[in-house]
Amino acid sequence: MSRIRKLALPPLGLALAVIHLLPLYIAASVAFKRTTDLSSRWRLPDYVYLDHFKSALLESNLPRAFGNTLVLTVSTAVLLVVIGSVSAYPLARIHSRLNRLWMNVILGVMMVPTLSVIVPLYAVMRDFGAINANWGIVLVLTTYNLPLSIFLYANFIRTIPRELDEAAKVDGCGHFRLFYSIVLPQLKPVTAAVLILKGLKVWNDYEFPLYFLQKPHNQTVTLAISRFFSDTSSDFGSASAAAVMAVIPVTVAFLALQKYFISGLTDGAVK
């Protein structure tokens, strides 16, 4: 009985892999096929045809969208690391009633749904002249992703022994020096987690760009793709090619950094 069960595991695992990758396979099949090829999408073409990819790249601002998204993602990630780690330090090290309140504020902000504040937030952004400006959306993306960043950093800093802190304090180190020279160098693992988790979130974000980046030249990848599918409703090939290209960087990053992805997601989640 148990041997049969063991023999059944590999095929079962393979079947699950196929089911989860199926939508991507079908999209790739559409992207690599001529528009005139009406064979089933289950079947891959037996010829090489890349025109859909060419037209997706040349007749849209997809390349530019990739550049824009990269700029937004990197700037936001840097801010999340800097602001997140600095404000997590006192939160993790100092116990006071104010700090407990602050922690609850952070958890509360984590629960605010993007769309629930979009109307007033849009008005605020317009008053600041921050619509269609990279700095504006970077600040908003930073704000709404900051709670988890602070939370992860604070949890991690709590696990760092305090002996070094105390010694440095006796030597007359202020909080800034202490953070910079003692805590910061130990934050590499949690920084990797924050960069991956939040980088991905910002890269895939749709709500904020939809409202705050409305000019074709500052579109992000998600906006460009949605434009593709809503505008050229007849040209499925190119739209699919664009979707496939949008999935590639994420897939490559995942396969290369798999270990960090998993630990980033699970650290602190199960304890």
Partner: protein, 302 residues
């Protein structure tokens, strides 16, 4: 631990201490203030107006928007759908993800491939996943209907029936994000000492009992994390609905989030849209806190 400095010195260093701490908090406080709390408060003000979103002129209309909220059947549908997406995601992805974790916690050939394939979709934007699913669900030429034809069945217009469309959205988002729950459960399973199982096996405890009395209670932290994550994610569902149905047919698959977008963008009813935003915020807050309280109460200490 403070060394013996003079009284004046102590005060000065304490002040410096406080200033430094305040400076460390400042950037986050300013950002939250400008982009979260100020908008939340001004959202309340806007919810009492008939503002259209761009005009300088608007008037205060008292509780009208709130009254409308309770009598609007499209809003009711959006709230029901949101609960389905949220609670459905939490229940389905937890059970499904736990099954995957139990399966893929065993060693066998192809385990790594299966884990990676199940987790990969989590990385992809829900919007793009929605568009990709269009190629599966299309009436003519769609992959699922080709399969139906091959099986000798009739083609189905998958997203035409409101109930089926809501079910499909729930299924697709669960299929995409179940990997996240799986990975968290896998990590949770790693924290359970193997000796517990060995002892139970020696005492002749059956498989189901072992699962019920060892695995499940010790996975409580993972269950709480997953339930909360999935609930919040599902209650905020936006991009997948936008890509797949845009809320249609009619208003039947709208979530509250896509409804807010519709009211603001398409019908330029910013005041009403802000009112719905406040309702969504309060709903999510209440449900999340209630579920968290309930689960924490049942958590065992070990």
């Amino acid at each position: 631990m403070r060394s013996n400095v003079s009284v004046g010195g102590l005060n000065r260093s304490r002040l410096a201490d406080r200033l430094q701490i305040a400076a460390m908090y400042a950037p986050a406080v300013v950002l939250f203030g400008l982009f979260v709390f100020y908008p939340l408060i001004s959202g309340v003000r806007i919810s009492f107006t008939d503002w259209n979103g761009y005009s300088q002129n608007y008037s205060f209309i008292g509780w009208d928007n709130y009254r409308k909220l309770f009598s609007d059947s499209n809003i009711r549908t959006a709230f029901v759908n949101t609960i389905i997406y949220g609670v459905g995601s939490a229940v389905i992805q937890n059970v499904w993800g736990l099954l995957y974790a139990l399966l893929l916690n065993r060693k066998f050939a192809g385990r790594t491939l299966a884990r990676a394939a199940i987790y990969l979709p989590v990385m992809i934007s829900g919007l793009i996943m929605g568009y990709i699913w269009y190629f599966m669900l299309q009436y003519s030429g769609g992959a699922l209907n080709d399969l139906m034809l091959a099986l000798g069945l009739a083609r189905v217009d998958w997203l035409a029936d409101p109930r089926r469309a809501v079910g499909l959205i729930l299924f697709i988002t669960s299929l995409q994000y179940v990997g996240q729950a799986m990975v968290i459960y896998l990590a949770g399973l790693q924290t359970i000492p193997q000796t517990y199982y060995e002892a139970a096996e020696m005492d002749g405890v059956r498989v189901w009992s072992r699962f019920r009395h060892i695995t499940l209670p010790l996975l409580a932290p993972a269950i709480i994390t997953n339930a909360t994550l999935k609930l919040i994610g599902g209650l905020q569902l936006f991009d997948l609905v936008m890509a797949l149905t845009g809320g249609g047919p009619g208003f039947s698959t709208h979530s509250v989030s896509t409804m807010i977008n519709y009211l603001y963008f398409t019908s330029q009813n910013a005041g009403y849209s802000a009112t719905l935003g406040i309702a969504l915020f309060l709903t999510i807050m209440a449900i999340t806190i209630a579920v968290n309280r309930f689960l924490r109460k049942r958590e065992v200490e070990h």
